[in-house]
């Protein structure tokens, strides 16, 4: 169907709302059951594809095709409990569903209408079974604005997006001939700031681009989510791709651009596929292309692929990459809104920023700016990973405390371990210790404590993580990703990494720590682009909060957390060893020897400390310990 007026959207909505509404708890009495299978990357990796096939087979086997519909949906966010399957009406939430469980799910729930108790989620602690999704604390504690369609609609069907008032904001602007300035004002007043990390006001950026006289102009969506451990943008693209397309068209109208590009990571095959489907459907319906809503405004979107370079998150590097070249940054000004793609004015916004736009336009800037803190409005999506019980994707209002995110929604630290730090902002951010857990977080408060919002990745660390090693890990990453354009970043990060190798190898002196701190500040101040300027952040923040760990490595030659390999030894506990020989089989260098009925032994000269034996031993007889403090030669 072609959409050329708002009335056309309404017709589609009328047709699809009963279906979508039943998933939101409004039972239309259609008698149709809907099975939503999470098909985000995490659930797809844990076999949700197999579940889809098995469901289809079982449903056909019982002749239920007429009454049951099986749908793919985007990420629910509760990745720890994946694969997730939801059944409507009723919103029954099944987790960790295996292929073998499908028979019961179909036979009991779909055929007889009885909930399969054993597949329900149990709240840890109380052990209470949560029958429905809105009874689960992980979801109750969140406020989903950007993610409101993820897990609700089928991202491969544009009609379901329209049933959720999709493309209505765009249609309303174009059909009612709203002025560009009027729309930009709404975005400005909402207080929306760029979700890519730096937090530049979005309305201001659009305004700057709109005033440029040079044409043609471009809209560019940055979907090159490079931070390791961050998957917000990917989940939005996988769960609600049309929201981004609609917002890009609005941006195009506001600044006077007719062409948009989405720069997406090649490492996200599912997101790419969903985007391709979304683009095709939007073009077929006339929601992208020529004269949208009969207004004479043309807008089209094309995909460009990132090829694995972290520096391309830097906007000037990203521009080079979209044009097919080496992704090397250049000095600013001129800013991309002045000279971007092919030297023309270009607005670059991140996926999550765009995903906020349709909601702001529909609900109004007053509503949006009523949420969040004084300087950061709205909500923020975070990905929780690392040493945390509820790994996954969450959305909370700006200004929520870290304690709420980690201990309440995130469910705390597994295995009875103690919280040590949370890393925000990826390789450009910093590590935040327990003393700041009660700080409400927004762009500015995170910067004050030496970290940054970044795109929203949060990695939680416990007592078994070595902060020196974490800083080294991030530095190794940025060093590897440094494009080589400017000397402070290219050479500076290399020298910093060498100091880290000395520290973790037990060969550094106290003077090296001073040198590291000095060099960090130099690289931060003198680098050309954001990559180099923020690369020292993990180092500076860990030195600020965990200096004692640095001292332990340097002065005492001990890694308190037991991570830095050169400072560790592996031994066999003779009491526990049952001489099964599994460790020797797992050892690739032949460091383990033994004979039946006698405890095995590790040759420290041969041992490469890979820990394969430790992982394999069924009796926990392999011990890892910090090396005995060696006498320090002064």
């Amino acid at each position: 169907m072609q959409v050329s007026r708002i009335d056309d959207l309404k017709k589609v909505k009328e047709q699809y709302l009963p279906l979508v509404g039943s998933r939101l708890g409004h039972d239309g009495g259609s008698g149709l059951a809907q099975v939503m299978v999470c098909s985000g990357t995490a659930c797809a990796s844990s076999e949700s594809r197999v579940l889809l096939q098995e469901l289809a087979a079982q449903i056909a086997g019982r002749g239920l095709q007429e009454r049951v519909r099986v749908l793919k949906t985007g990420c629910f966010g509760f990745c720890q409990q994946g694969p997730v399957v939801m059944v409507h009406p009723g919103g029954v939430f099944y987790c960790r569903v295996k292929k073998e469980d499908i028979e019961k799910l179909v036979g009991k729930h779909l055929a007889e209408g009885q909930v399969v108790e054993e597949l329900l989620y149990h709240e840890p602690g109380s052990g209470r079974k949560a029958g429905k999704i809105n009874e689960i604390h992980f979801f109750q504690a969140q406020r989903r604005i950007v993610l409101r369609n993820c897990g609700v609609i089928n991202p491969e069907d544009i009609n379901e997006y329209i049933a959720r008032d999709g493309y209505l904001a765009l249609g309303e602007i174009l059909e009612n001939r709203r002025s560009r300035q009027e729309v930009i004002d709404i975005v400005s007043r909402s207080g929306l700031r760029g979700r890519g990390g730096a937090g530049f006001p979005t309305g201001r950026k659009w305004e700057l681009a709109a005033t440029q006289e040079n044409t043609p102009k471009y809209v560019l969506c940055n979907a090159d989510e490079g931070d390791p451990g961050a998957f917000m943008d990917r989940s939005i693209l996988e769960g609600d791709p049309h929201g981004v397309l609609e917002a890009m068209a609005v941006a195009g109208y506001c600044i006077g651009a007719n062409q948009g590009y989405i720069y997406v990571r090649a490492e996200y095959p599912i997101a790419v596929e969903r985007l391709q489907i979304a683009l095709k459907q939007a073009k077929e319906m006339g929601l992208l292309g020529k004269s949208l809503f009969g207004s004479g405004f043309d807008f089209d979107v094309a995909l460009r692929f990132g090829a694995g370079a972290f520096v391309c998150g830097e906007e000037t590097a990203l521009l080079q990459s979209v044009m097919g070249g080496r992704g090397e940054p250049r000095p600013r000004p001129p800013y991309p809104v002045q000279e971007g793609l092919w030297g023309k004015p270009t607005v670059i916004n991140n996926v999550e920023t765009f995903a906020n736009i349709p909601v702001i336009l529909r609900e109004g800037w007053e509503w949006y700016s009523g949420q969040g803190t004084a300087t950061s409005k709205g909500s923020k999506v975070f990905s929780l990973a690392g040493k945390i019980n509820n790994t996954g994707l969450i959305e909370v209002p700006m200004g929520t405390t870290l304690r709420t995110i980690i201990f309440d929604i995130g469910g705390g630290i597994p295995g009875g371990q103690r919280f040590k730090a949370v890393q925000t902002g990826g390789p450009s951010g910093g590590c935040i210790p327990a003393e700041h857990l009660d700080r409400p977080i927004d762009y500015d408060s995170l910067r004050e404590i030496g970290s940054m919002m970044g795109s929203g990745g949060m990695i939680v660390m416990d007592e078994s993580d070595c902060m020196v090693d974490i800083a080294r890990f991030y530095l190794e990453f940025t060093q590897d990703e440094s494009c080589g354009r400017c000397t402070p970043c290219r050479v500076g990060t290399r020298r910093m990494l060498e100091i880290f190798q000395k520290i973790t190898g037990g060969q550094a002196g106290m003077e090296d720590l001073d040198l590291l701190a000095e060099l960090s500040r130099d690289v931060r101040d003198a680098s050309l682009c954001g990559l180099g300027q923020t690369a020292p952040n993990p180092v500076l923040s860990t030195m600020r909060y965990f200096y004692d760990e640095y001292v332990a490595h340097v002065r005492d030659k001990v890694c308190p957390a037991g991570v830095c390999r050169d400072l560790l030894t592996y031994t066999v506990d003779k009491e526990k060893c049952v001489a099964c020989g599994l460790c020797a089989k797992a050892c690739a260098v032949g460091a383990l020897t033994g004979e039946p009925k006698k405890p095995y032994q590790i040759d420290p000269e041969k041992c490469v400390r890979c820990a394969a034996c430790l992982a394999k031993c069924p009796k926990e007889a392999i011990r890892r310990s910090s090396r005995v403090a060696a006498p320090v030669v002064e």
Partner: protein, 169 residues
């Protein structure tokens, strides 16, 4: 073999021409070229440069800039150890080291028998399953260093059997 190569070259030229109308599509062309050939040898890069009328140095500059592009052929099985932060704090380094010592190769290298290529990858976004190892397209979640010899053992015997039955060469 030469016939197969010609076929691939023809496909490459077709791909380049398909993209020629749009500006700035070098990365797109290289992606497809890598799909066709499995990697991007000098010959392919030269062909692209010639057909697009740009210097080979420009093509090579782009190929070597991005980690997605390979200039060496890969083994039959591509093992990717996720080195995203979530996987790292859950022990990905130990897994990676175990693969290295078991296979006797370093990152980015291929075993002499052409069976395995070992790589580390940036976050694949399956952090809920950390640590993660990707074997071809198959994702193994909650992996441990202890599982390395098992995974390789299976694959080796499996592959040898398949190779033998197929009567290659």
């Amino acid at each position: 073999m030469p016939a197969g190569l010609d076929e691939k070259m023809r496909e490459l030229v077709k791909t380049i021409d398909r993209y020629s109308a749009e500006p700035g599509q070098l990365i797109g062309i290289l992606r497809e070229a890598q799909d066709i050939f499995g990697y991007l040898p000098e010959k392919v890069q030269t062909c692209i440069a010639w057909r697009m009328s740009i210097p080979v140095s420009e093509v090579n500059g782009v190929v070597t800039f991005y980690s997605f592009f390979d200039t060496r052929p890969k083994g039959r099985r591509l093992l990717n150890v996720c080195m995203g932060t979530a996987c790292y704090v859950k022990g990905a380094q130990a897994i990676f080291d175990a693969f290295k010592s078991h296979l006797g190769i370093d990152e980015g290298e291929t075993t002499a028998d052409g069976l395995f290529t070992l790589k580390s990858t940036r976050c694949i976004g399956a952090c809920g399953l950390a640590p993660v190892v990707v074997d071809g397209t198959e994702v193994h979640g909650r992996f441990t260093a202890g599982g390395v010899s098992e995974l390789l053992g299976q694959k080796r015997t499996g592959d040898h059997a398949a190779g033998g039955a197929g009567g290659r060469e």
